[in-house]
């Protein structure tokens, strides 16, 4: 059973490097956790910038990359979160963990304080 579930929402410009499914698979096997990945892309090129109107949209609908991580073991879960934070940095907004369960969110937030999300 997955006691810990977290959704890490990275918005355009947030990850320090491209999020690649191949790398996520590597983390999945290294830490023995479950990882799924979803990319939502609604930006259009305008005046040389990729643009999108986000003001009246639901948070889940704006362009973003969502890494969903789940595990029944706290140490594997935490270890993988730290690895993700080191690679991509921490998600950056107060709502970037929306959709996580309480146990998962608590760990993810605590690790943010320790690994660069302040």
């Amino acid at each position: 059973m997955n006691k810990y579930i977290v959704k890490l929402r990275y918005y355009p410009g947030d990850p320090l490097e491209d999020i690649r499914e191949k790398d996520l698979k590597g983390f999945e096997s290294e830490y023995g956790v479950n990882i799924s990945y979803e990319k939502i892309e609604n930006r259009v090129m305008k005046d040389g910038l990729l643009m999108e109107r986000t003001l009246d949209k639901h948070i889940e609908d704006v362009s973003q990359e969502v890494i969903t991580l789940s595990s029944g073991k706290e140490d594997s879960f935490s270890g993988c979160i730290v690895a993700l934070y080191k690679k991509y940095r921490c998600p950056r907004t107060p709502y970037s963990l929306m959709g996580s369960n309480e146990a998962g969110q608590k760990i993810a937030k605590k690790l943010m304080e320790m690994h660069g999300g302040w």
Binding site: Y11, P12, G13, D14, L16, E17, L49, L50, M51, E52, T54, L55, D56, K57, H58, I59, V62, S63, Q64, K86, R92, T93, P94, Y95, M98, M114, H115, G116, W118
Partner: protein, 287 residues
């Protein structure tokens, strides 16, 4: 060619004002038309943090103060010289007050580019660690590019006139701004600093104790030693993340700020319940 000096000192004919006027004389010698505003002569209300300006362009809840006038003056010139004294490690409060009001300019960050210079008189050496952060921030938020900065060690009112070297530096700075406008060359001409973008010497050590960051630009790198000297090494790709790049600013507004409206609305009822006890606690009469 119009050059505007913004004076962040309350003192009339104090060191900041004298240095600014000296710089304007330098600019005039290059043919500039000049003007000076003492910021403390104007009403600059604190930002109320209401967020209106973030969600609706050019709308501010604060009415009847002079911030729009000051910003219109900046809009109407071709170069700016910002002067402010350092009393306690950073610039004066009026500068910060103006920085906070720059939210309303958020919609045009990165769109205007004009040169600017900075003059900072201070009294005690070593008491100026944060001055460049503030001046860089204010200039950047107003769409200006710093081309040089001088800090001048001086203390009592008007004593700076005794320091001919400082007066000459200020005069040259004014000339430099005018020449930059004429040549359309806004490259940085001052001391290099640790950060190649904002040229500050400040560095923030992250909690991993491996990574360092320019606190103003938000660009991360490594601290290195070259011939025994401390330096910061940035990967080329790190610059894609510099805080005040137009695309980074756009993403910040579009993805960190604008969607917060949805979060704010969907948590309305929960917040209403949870904040009730704080509305009642230590409530003042008439509130």
């Amino acid at each position: 060619m119009k050059i505007l000096a913004l004076n962040g000192s309350f003192r009339k004919n104090g060191n900041t004002e004298i240095l600014l006027k000296q710089a304007l004389m330098g600019a005039e010698s290059e043919g500039a038309e000049v003007e000076i505003l003492r910021l403390t002569d104007y009403k600059i209300e604190p930002c109320r943090g209401c967020g209106l300006c973030l969600f609706r362009e050019n709308v501010c809840q604060v009415q009847g103060d002079d911030v729009s006038f000051i910003f219109s003056k900046v809009d109407g010139c071709e170069g700016v010289i910002l002067g402010a004294p350092c009393y306690f490690l950073e610039l004066t409060a009026v500068v910060k007050q103006l920085i906070d009001r720059c939210w309303i300019l958020g919609h045009k960050i990165g769109k205007i580019k004009k040169p600017a210079a900075v003059i900072i008189p201070y009294a005690t050496r070593g008491w100026t660690p944060y001055v460049s952060v503030q001046s860089n921030l204010l200039l950047t938020l107003m769409g200006l590019m710093k081309i040089n900065e001088i800090t001048v060690c001086t203390q009592g009112i008007s004593e700076v006139v005794l320091d001919q070297e400082a007066m000459d530096l200020a005069f040259s700075l004014g000339k430099e701004i005018a020449v930059a406008i004429k040549k359309k060359d806004f490259t940085y001409k001052g001391e290099a600093g640790l950060c190649p973008s904002c040229h500050d010497w400040l560095v923030r050590i992250l909690k991993d104790q491996e990574t360092v960051e320019c606190p103003t630009c938000g660009v991360r790198g490594k601290l290195i030693f070259v011939d025994g000297k401390i330096s910061m090494k940035f990967e080329e790709k790190a610059w894609a993340d510099a805080r005040f790049r137009p695309d980074v600013q756009y993403n910040h507004f579009t993805y960190h700020i604008a969607p917060s409206k949805d979060y704010f609305l969907r948590t309305k009822e929960e917040r209403k319940t949870l904040t009730q006890k704080y509305r009642e606690y230590l409530r003042k009469e008439g509130e």
